[in-house]
Symmetry: C2
Subunit: 157 residues, 2 copies
């Protein structure tokens, strides 16, 4: 009713910026909670978590990569990936072996079961597209805007 207009019509008052609905970051955060929720129900039958599924995506694209290359592609730390990879190995989807050329490196490769899984999950991206709604154009646009924000964030941090 009597809310005073800010001096600059495009700016927000400090109090408004502290509101949840205003914040892009919270929209991102809460949307990802929804993404995880959907992936959980989709990947449940394969006994996979979403981060594990992401590692499989990396390997299906390029087999036999070392740990730090997976780190780089997924924006994750070794600390996160080492135990995750061990679980994938225990599950029988991947193998981990020290490189012969460079003993420091651990080469991650797909097992036959890991390779075979690809066919079973190939419908998953479509399931998510359906769950999120929107046209292909909208999805591509949103994705590329996020990538831009992501690169800004990682160079800022």
């Amino acid at each position: 009713m009597k809310s005073p207009p800010p001096s600059n019509a495009r700016a927000l008052r400090s109090a408004d910026k502290l509101k949840l609905e205003t914040q892009l970051c919270f929209a991102l955060y809460s949307t990802l909670l929804g993404v995880n929720k959907v992936y959980r129900s989709l990947l449940r039958e394969f006994d996979l978590t979403y981060p594990q599924y992401l590692v499989m995506l990396v390997l299906w694209d390029k087999d036999r990569v070392n740990v730090s290359e997976i780190c780089d592609q997924l924006f994750l730390e070794t600390t996160t990936l080492t135990p995750l990879l061990k679980r994938l190995e225990a599950r029988g989807l991947i193998r981990r072996r020290r490189s012969a050329e460079d003993e420091r490196q651990v080469i991650v490769s797909l097992t036959d079961e890991g390779r075979a899984l690809r066919q079973q999950v190939k419908h998953v991206p479509d399931c998510l597209g359906a769950a999120m709604g929107g046209s292909l154009e909208e999805i591509v646009e949103l994705r590329d805007k996020l990538k831009k924000v992501r690169s800004k964030l990682f160079e800022a941090a």
Copy 2:
């Protein structure tokens, strides 16, 4: 070079949909990793995590709410919030008391220290805006598109 064009020029082949760079979900996931990274460095001095900060945002907007109302606003489960709230209480920022009217409810309220913290962090949203770049219009547009995706995801799951 010799990649066969799909029957529908706007559609993607199943193999391409399984690539990381193609996926909107991974863009979301990895962008949030960047968001968390920036928030960690910003909130470090206040000894706050990002989810804890979100709870404070809820309380600064409306003091004296029960746990499930915080759950609803943050899209989180009680399971996540109960221990988080205990940590905030141990840190001296909030109080937790059983409601007198309904003994099942736990009413969460700000301490003086919790209320005072608001002034100290009010620059944080601007810091993130700067870290993410982009105009206010772009941010608002991206935020609202994410909200739309979020509502779809939660009704799908």
